[in-house]
Symmetry: C2
Subunit: 199 residues, 2 copies
């Protein structure tokens, strides 16, 4: 779904984040196991592995407890996905406000990317999101204070022919990317990567 001619790996070239999932597709516990295995073997700073996952398959108790804490926006589409995963970062040393690792969030992002790559190899699509009640999920699952439910991810099958423009919550698909020369800094050594740009 990218607009480039460079030979990206097919799983990367085909990746996008659907917001419509086939509510009849059922994922297997074996698929979940291999997705978690992909995350488990991701690299991390000092092999700190600052990650954990709450995994619900549609219809099971964990799924139901996760769905209860979705924001209205994600509740419109995420429950139809076959798998909901809450992605947890080990933020602090237990009982302190010291960072467990400077790279806890960075490494969690990597682990979720590895999980995504594996899910795509299984024929599943993925959409990550933040539209949930973080404190609600943390209370629901008694997440200890030194951990954080950082993001959630929905995994499932996007209907045949689905494309970014089909997202009812986002009629103009945000598939824009900055130009390669904007993210590769040595090509423009005189200026900042995005100097003057605002979020």
């Amino acid at each position: 779904m990218t607009d480039v001619n460079l030979p990206l790996h097919p799983l990367l070239a085909a990746r996008w984040s659907p917001a419509v999932f086939d509510p009849s597709h059922v994922a297997t516990t074996e698929q979940v196991a291999v997705m978690l295995e992909a995350a488990r073997w991701a690299p991390s700073a000092g092999t700190s592995q600052p990650w954990a996952f709450l995994v619900g398959l549609r219809g099971d108790p964990v799924h139901q407890r996760l769905v209860a804490h979705l924001a209205r926006s994600s509740a419109a589409w995420a429950p139809a996905a076959s798998i909901l995963v809450a992605n947890l970062a080990h933020r602090f040393v237990e009982g302190t406000d010291w960072d467990y690792s400077e790279f806890a969030l960075y490494d969690l992002g990597q682990a979720v990317a590895h999980m995504t790559f594996q899910a795509q190899a299984l024929g599943l699509s993925v959409r990550q999101f933040r539209a949930f009640d973080r404190a609600g999920v943390e209370a629901e699952f008694a997440v200890p204070a030194h951990w954080q439910v950082t993001t959630m991810a929905a995994f499932g099958v996007s209907p045949a022919g689905a494309a970014p423009g089909d997202d009812p919550a986002r009629p103009v698909p945000q598939r824009h990317r900055r130009a390669p020369e904007e993210i590769s800094w040595p090509s423009r050594p005189q200026s900042a990567p995005h100097a003057g740009e605002t979020p």
Copy 2:
């Protein structure tokens, strides 16, 4: 290199972080371009794309300027890699101490993971590291204060037969991973993911 029987995607199953690189292997600018393309199309919160990269090919001026700021530990092995990349996160809104994105580090980690998959698909291995003078690199390349040189990554060819145990800086390879049931929390709902564990 994993010790599991689950059918991980071959690129994930084969991934490890070498600390010995073939100093005669030369990467191409085309390889760099497609690796950056992989990072460019990674997902990010609100498509904020909070990443930029300083890319040096062994022997070019950027590479030389990066090598000058390696710590002694990484200077022993990283210069032999074909490509050195400094991975930058857009941490703050320019001129403020406000987070640019809550997910800047998380998203940079994802982008580096995507770059890693693509590099592996090109036959390259990757080792990420923090053993460099962050302030030195930031000054060297005039990185604006709202950006951070978060990590570096070395890409290249690991010699035939190389294995984690070959790391001279780490004679006992840290290939250990927590058990699947330790990182998947719903399987043990009565306790914290790693309660009582310390870094």
